[in-house]
Amino acid sequence: MTNAFRTVVDRRTLLKLGAAGFASAGLASLAGCSSAGAGGGSGPRTIKMLYFGQQSAATTLQKSLQPQIKKLDKTATLEVSAINGTDWNDFLAKVLTQIASGSAPDLVSVATEGLQLMASKELLIPLDSYVTKDMSSLQSYFDDIHPALIESMMYQGHLYELPDSFNAGSMFYSTDIVQKAGLSSPAAGWTMDDFHTYATKMGGLGGNVNAFDWVVRLWGSWTSFLYANDGNLLEEGKYSGGDWLWKKAYAKNPTAAAGRGGGWKWGTPTANSPAAVEALEYLIDLQRSKLSPSPDVGGGGTLQGLFSSGRIGMTIGGGFWAGGLHNAGMKNGSFDVQLFPTWKSNKSLFGAGGYGIFNSSKNKDLAWEVVKMMVRPESFDIMFPGNVTTPGRKSLMTAERYKTTGPEHWSVFYDQLNGSVPISAPPYYNALATSLNQRTTQAISSGNAKAALDGMQADFEKAAKAS
């Protein structure tokens, strides 16, 4: 038995093997460093971009955009990496973890939720100098895009992203349930009283039909009611600055630029304001009256399934629902959309999506060219095939676009932007979102909106202080 061990590794060989292992590991890490650093050289350049979605979609996107990237730089290649997540909160957490691991990309597609967080931590660079330099070639872009979207991508007077898409919180409804309840389609300018009448009549249908459903999250949640009630989770304000952009980019349209500043400044928390308490209590009352089921937290998959299977009469949605409901099997005409009902104001909310350049990028100039390329009209359907979001460029909002998916009143998506405010996503957005979810579910389960919102207020104050 002992003899069997004679031919095996002795201590010296073992030490040699160990040394070789460490050396290999060291070389591998050095190789990793060198490949990361190579991007800044004169050799082939790779633009790495993070994409919120499935890897299959990211690969398709990469293949579709590759020819256009080659036109910009023959040696350049685009690498799109997908990050899965239930919502932007989830996406952001994963992006930040990736950054922590030392593999920051060149480009990132970030929604309003993460803009101030990334800008405040100097993860993204201001695009001011690039925009100023290329103002003439970007003029057609600024002529075509709503200034509210541009302003939502500014922070402390600087522009950090070029937006290409958005979703404003409008009210979707099932045309079938509306008809069954003996109602006609809601008209533009409908009020909360009208909404309640609709909900009551739809609820009267009984069976497994619920008049209204929603999702616990920052965008398009009870927050839509809060905005309509002329409230917000945080005090609204604007940073000074931004004139460098507004005076040049919107020189032909000063009315659109009037009152615009250097981005939204989110101030003191107002989560337990009377407007907030009233809005959340209204939603709790809807549930008590059995007009609304208990909402899910985050995502929206369940809600989409319930709506598309005819169990929900009305819900809050944006342009992304046109493609979402179509993909879920709903036929054009079986659902439609109207502006969010007015309450004490006609204020509504929106979130925008766009592209920013990472501070750590070694290829910033090329990345900027890619950003410009991605906000071209012809890039939109490559980026977002099938109406899974709303185009930021108004010229892309056409009847042709919604011919297959619906809804009939697709123009509502863009009209909703007038008088709307971006979701309140300060640099401490992640902590805000966590508290919002917890305290909202607490309010729903306890039925005590005030107590839950007092807790939310304390959470926000703590998070704001820590940020």
Partner: protein
């Protein structure tokens, strides 16, 4: 060869040769040792890289304030001091403990009950069938099970409430009420984990000596008395093992509440691991999250220690 003969032969061998032999034996021993180290090296490296180094790193990180983006800042024990004063941390540890106790008790009782019933089956095929059936959920992905269970337990559209209401019973707010959500977490976790405990108990019950059982039967012990006075004491080491493993797992409960309730409603199912995730990956307070992890580790060690201390009186080793 007797010791005497061996001594005589050794005495006849010259000293120089004896030294050479001794050196050879030492080399042999070294080679064997090296081979032994080589054999265990993979496991040691694996445990070091994925267990010890992360624990040490986490301990180090708990002394820093780090948001992933900016460089870490040394804060000493500040994270632990903050943790002690943070009501949400105390609450989440309380939630974790309540859920863990519920899960362990139900898992042990159910596992033992099922094992006793299956062990009484005479036919081998039926034993195999039940063993496989009860063990199968353990092989499923916890995430997939949690998503699926989330649909089943949905208050409005779930299957369970559908059947309850169809027989005239009221719908239960499984996931939207604090107590309901905790009960659901226990049920779902036990449903998936009970197979492990069950298999352990089946094996332990099978190994109970037949002569002891026969002696108990001769002494007039019925099935209940045999179970509680003979079988359970004899398998008590297995019960201890199952309890310790189940407790350690339950104290780290994450997937089920994270997927099914996101820790809600409110913070009713926010376990320590969810709080850790929120602090680290959502609120970007990795130092604070590490401090929570270290405290959780200590609590698990203390609970495990208590279990072993209690076992001195309760566990019967043959």
């Amino acid at each position: 060869m007797s010791v005497q003969t061996q001594t005589r032969e050794t005495a006849r061998v010259p000293v120089s040769r004896r030294v050479v032999r001794r050196v050879g034996a030492r080399r042999e021993a070294r080679r064997e040792g090296a081979f032994g180290y080589l054999m265990i090296s993979l496991a040691v490296i694996f445990v070091a890289v994925f267990t010890f180094i992360p624990i040490i790193a986490s301990l180090g990180l708990s002394l820093f304030s780090w948001d992933v983006i900016t460089p870490p800042k040394f804060v000493g024990m500040a994270n632990f001091e903050r943790l002690g004063a943070d009501g949400s941390v105390l609450q989440s540890f309380g939630v974790t403990l309540v859920l863990a106790i519920g899960i362990v008790l139900l898992q042990l009782c159910l596992g033992l009950g099922l094992a006793v019933l299956v062990n009484q089956r005479k036919k081998t095929w039926s034993k195999t069938f039940f063993r496989t059936t009860f063990y199968l959920p353990l092989l499923a992905s916890t995430a997939a099970v949690s998503i699926f269970m989330g649909y089943l337990f949905d208050a409005k559209f779930g299957v369970f409430n559908y059947y309850l209401t169809s027989i005239g019973l009221p719908a239960i707010p499984w996931l939207t009420n604090p107590v309901g959500a905790m009960v659901t977490m226990i049920l779902v976790t036990v449903w998936q984990q009970v197979g492990f405990t069950f298999v352990l108990f089946v094996a332990a019950l099978t190994s109970v000596p037949k002569d002891v059982l026969e002696a108990a039967a001769i002494d007039g012990a019925g099935p209940a008395r045999t179970l509680f006075r003979v079988k359970i004491p004899l398998i008590s080491p297995t019960i201890l093992f199952a309890a310790v493993v189940a407790m350690i797992n339950a104290m780290q409960l994450f997937d089920q509440p994270f997927i099914m309730t996101k820790g809600g409603p409110g913070t009713a199912t926010t376990t320590a691991t969810i709080l850790m995730y929120q602090a680290g990956f959502q609120n970007l307070q990795f130092g604070y999250a590490s401090a929570i992890a270290i405290v959780l580790l200590l609590i698990i060690l203390v609970i495990t220690g208590i279990q072993f201390l209690a076992a001195r009186k309760l566990v019967f080793y043959q």
